[in-house]
Symmetry: C2
Subunit: 223 residues, 2 copies
């Protein structure tokens, strides 16, 4: 029987690659997305398409009203998405987002009996988000094993961040070799309803540079 | 200006006491509850009444579909609420619940500029939940300060668990001295829609014993 894993699937390039890597490593994959009031709603549609074409064992979308909490350009209409790279932690930072996502994935993993949680964080092109750093992942794994029945009485949890030390170009190359169809992914922070990208936000810039470095044809549709 | 704090408010006896303690310590209190498909829905009504009578600065209820994840007698209709004290981690354990709640409270705290998060966990009468232990609280505080802008660039977060080393009797005595109206609280895992308690579940037993030990008249309404 294949070991089970929960994969955080945003619909972006990174998590699509993580799903392909986890499947290639022999895991039965359970994908989870979050409907958290993000502006780039077409990302969710992309996540659903990716889950379906990857043939995951189950796919769950958790609705969260993070927009009620506010505080980020990604969820709060009163804060504009920046179009130049900022110094420090950017305006698109969503307070405690990966902590919330991993916590919910942890709950599902425990119910499923899945010992591995995969997340597409990346330390090289990480855009300055504190909850994408390796020390955050290590601390969450430690917490997970203190917080749960599986951690206390069972075999514990592992938080897998296989893209952690890869550049965007390396991520794209490895996904390309595994057959990931990047035309299905949406990275743009302000994509239109069809998923077409703005080409100007941080996320678009990192993505375009990644395809250029990887030497892979960029299938992104721009507005 | 008073320092701000976010208080996890379940509507039970413990969190009602925590709210009173935080107010007595001079915090401006922001209360947060979760609608997570719990069977004991009257707890949420109690939380709302408690927030209102305490005069909190803001009160937020976050809707979460943990029932879609399942795995607990508190959220899953196919698992009966046990009426005898169990050995080990009980069936009423909800996978990753306090991790999810604290993560969401952390997000709100960061947006508010609140440095303190209060949670009513208790190590003495803790019922065997792994995410009520002191080591869990310490690990979450560490995670919070790695995960957030406030942790990295600001003054950081503190997770306050003032009931940690108190018995149920001591909790009731201290709340009683601060004027907490325990008739407004609901502890029962299977309270009816009016908030009347079963008197038989773990939570009812601990509560009744607490009032007896404290020498305070028990205002609980039983079915």
């Amino acid at each position: 029987m294949k070991p089970k894993a929960v994969i955080l699937l945003s619909g972006g390039l990174d998590s699509a690659t993580v799903l392909a890597l986890a499947q290639a490593q022999g895991y039965e994959c359970y994908a989870m997305s979050f409907d958290y009031g993000q502006r780039h709603r077409s990302e969710l549609a992309a996540a659903s398409r990716l889950a379906s074409s990857a043939g995951v064992a189950d796919y769950k979308v958790i609705k969260l009203d993070l927009d009620g909490i506010g505080g980020s350009a990604l969820t709060d209409d009163s804060i504009a998405v920046p179009e130049t790279l900022e110094a420090g932690i950017p305006l698109t930072y969503v307070p405690a987002r990966n902590t919330v996502f991993l916590a919910l994935a942890l709950g599902w993993a425990e119910v499923l009996g899945a010992g591995d949680l995969f997340i597409g964080v990346n330390a090289v092109d990480y855009s300055g988000y504190p909850d994408c750093r390796p020390e955050f992942i290590v601390a969450f794994e430690r917490l997970a094993n203190l917080a749960t029945r599986t951690g206390v009485e069972g075999t514990g949890f592992r938080i897998r961040a296989p893209l952690q030390n890869m550049t965007k170009g390396e991520i794209i190359q490895s996904g390309y070799q595994l057959g990931v169809d990047y035309s299905q992914t949406v990275s743009c922070y302000q994509a239109d309803s069809s998923g077409a990208a703005c080409g100007r936000c941080d996320s678009c810039r990192l993505r375009a540079a990644g395809f250029a470095t990887a030497g892979v044809v960029d299938p992104t549709r721009y507005v």
